[in-house]
């Protein structure tokens, strides 16, 4: 039955993560964007929320919380409101942990999940994207060829967050290129493995506080036990639907950040003796932003809800993510526009949000719920 009310628990989570995002992440966002570094104490504090360990089963040292994509979307939106780079950074270990929780073998769970139960941030990541114009999640070019008992990985990845900081990462590769999503497997690859090269840190237009890297795999051999889920493999399509929901939710947070900032500015800033918000030309932009935020959030929640109900959520998450990719760009651009010349100056955060939001159309697969 249709219901738009968050559960009490979800409201509490939203409020506490929201306060953290507003009070602690936001003030750190601009300095982090300029310096390229996220303060370790902030990451440590985020870690205490249990964003990663909470949903890991108790017997592997986690909190044993039930996973919900809807709740995940609520958390991601709040973090995205704080800062997109910092949000992706603190959530990045999920990229490694969650597929193993959901689809790994018992041995893999026992071996790789305990590292997330400690008091300190445990960097971990996944390599999904590839540096090509026609990069397509359903047609990966990084390949995994069977060789004896194991696999040999070849190809290039990009936008791998925290690759240089992580001991192990998940690398997604096509074991059977003809099968699309179904032909993709995930492999647990130690960063130190022979044939793995992590590039210099990437330099991007936005997300400048987030450390991302290219990854080259040249005849990188891994054992059969490195394949997530063993012979059963993984449901890559589902993992990517979860990822789209996470990204879209982060995007809603960015949209909301731009909206609030522009709204407050427009009520303060005077032109011709009155606040510019009293002019329809500005007021309508803000009204449109408000509609688009709610529309996007509901699309994201619906996609998340489908996932929670066991559906594949492919269509819903794909449409929601593409919707957010467009509207986050539009809204952050509006944010700059409402501030006018001041929006172009790096003293205000709106130009940073515009640079960050442009990433949604380019980036996939590096966040999850």
């Amino acid at each position: 039955m249709i219901d738009f009310e968050l559960s009490e628990e979800q409201q509490m989570i939203r409020d506490s993560v929201g306060a953290f995002a507003r009070d602690e992440i936001r003030p750190a966002a601009r300095p982090a964007d300029e310096s390229g570094a996220i303060p370790a104490p902030l990451v440590a504090k985020a870690w205490q929320f249990g964003f990663v360990s909470g949903a890991i089963p108790e017997k592997f040292g986690g909190g044993g919380d039930a996973r919900s994509a809807v709740t995940g979307a609520i958390v991601a939106e709040e973090l995205g409101f704080g800062d997109l780079s910092i949000a992706i950074h603190v959530l990045a270990p999920r990229l490694f942990a969650y597929p193993i929780v959901d689809m790994g073998t018992d041995d893999q769970r026992a071996k790789y999940l305990k590292r997330f139960s400690g008091a300190d941030f445990a960097a971990a990541t996944a390599a999904v994207m590839e540096p090509r114009f026609d990069f397509d999640l359903s047609a990966l070019q990084v390949s995994a060829r069977r060789d004896g008992g194991g696999f040999v990985l070849n190809g290039a990845k990009c936008y791998v967050p925290l690759a240089a900081e992580s001991d192990s990462m998940l690398v997604y590769a096509a074991t059977d290129a003809a099968k699309g999503f179904a032909g993709v497997d995930g492999f647990i690859v130690p960063r130190a493995a022979a044939g793995v090269t992590v590039s210099e840190r990437e330099k991007n237009m936005g997300l400048k506080a987030l450390a991302t890297y290219e990854l080259t795999l040249k005849d990188c051999r891994v054992g059969a036990d490195a394949r997530v889920g063993g012979d059963k493999g993984i449901d890559f399509s589902r993992l990517m639907s979860q990822s789209r929901v996470a990204f879209a939710a982060l995007g809603v947070g960015v949209m909301n950040a731009a909206f609030e900032y522009a709204r407050d500015y427009a009520k303060e800033r005077k032109a011709f003796g009155v606040p510019i918000a009293t002019k329809q030309a500005i007021a309508f932009i803000l009204a449109d932003m408000a509609i688009e935020i709610d529309a996007a959030r509901l699309l994201v929640w619906e996609a998340a809800f489908k996932l929670d109900k066991g559906g594949d959520g492919l269509r819903e998450s794909y449409l929601a993510k593409n919707y957010v990719a467009q509207s986050a760009l539009k809204l952050t651009d509006n944010g700059v526009q409402v501030l006018g010349g001041h929006g172009y100056i790096r003293e205000h955060p709106v130009e940073m949000w515009l640079r960050n939001a442009r990433g949604f159309s380019a980036i996939d697969g590096i966040a999850t719920v």
Binding site: D136, S237, M240
Partner: protein, 411 residues
Amino acid sequence: MIDFELEPQVLNQLKMYHMVSEQMMRPISRDCDEHEHQKPTQFYESMWAASAAAADIQIGHDKSKKPDASKPAAPRRANLLTVLSTEELCWGDAGLYLSTPNPGLGGAAVMAAGTPDQKERFLKRFKEGKPKWGAMAITEPGFGSDSSAVATTATRDGDNWVLDGTKIFVTAGQMAAEKSDGFVVVWATVDRSAGRAGIKPFIVEHNTPGMSVTRVENKLGIRASDTAMIVLDNCRIPLDQILGSAEVRKEGGFKDVMATFDATRPIVAAMALGVGRAALDFVRDFLKQQNVAIRYGISPRRLTAVERDFMEMEVQLQAARLLTWRAAWMLDTGKRNSLEASMAKAKAGLAVTLITQKAVELLGPLGYSRKILVEKWMRDAKINDIFEGTQQINMIIIARRILNYSSKELN
């Protein structure tokens, strides 16, 4: 708890509405569009028979119903069910939907502002006898969006109110005022100097002397529905046919108009959804026949222009639908929804206008032809971006709410 699932009973109900759309509306859709003022009486009779059985008029906040403390309160969802059924019926034909004999917006006003006695007196008729229509008359030749500019007057004269003025764009006005035992809710001012506070709704019974339909408009779309001009010339009605209090207070009758809009805007949004979905379904089936696949999940850079357009139509419609459901759900759960109702209306009106325009484009020469209904849906869709508050008026309402501005501060 967040939930986007419709339960089986509701889905079954919607299937019924879908059958009505498919079997009773679509077959006469084109004909009613081509012959604007022809009345599909057979359709009226069938709809009347069907709805009399299920008639339980519940639109907006129904304050007359006290919860029965002895029973666990079943969640109220009349408004959600209304938007769901409205979408389904407007998938069939929005013009015919608007011409369906029912209390309409007049009924909504009675529900929102009437006393229990008035509700009984004026709404009972919709459960018995011959087909009847209710209508609401606000707009005048001198104003559209600025409903505070009502110039029609209501003057107290002994045991009567005397109404004088001209109303235009009254949906189903002809059917309500002259061609059935219906009524028209007329907004008139009891005190022009009092501005908004003086504006009150009055119920005028069909064929009341002094009320006449002087013109029925020719329109771009929704042609199956009559849009009337109604002249009130020394039109006398009993004193008790004012809805709500006659007293002119600072925060008076105008709030009732606004409360009505909170309930009706989601319905208009749902009308738009129905028309939009008609176009979307048509395009989807058509592309399937042409073996054009819609590939979800592939790189957005590999999508064809047609795929992109189709997906954009689809997601815009769904976004509008979720906003509409939310606005209706809020009414059902007793939350104030003026902001959300305007959001739903603004989004749906514009989205569906664009969706249906795109549908004509995607079908090329076929889309432009009157052989199929897509061009009609484009014409039908446009009204949803206009009536019950234009796109722009809803944007102003939204802007005022999010900025916390009064109508004086932002106008």
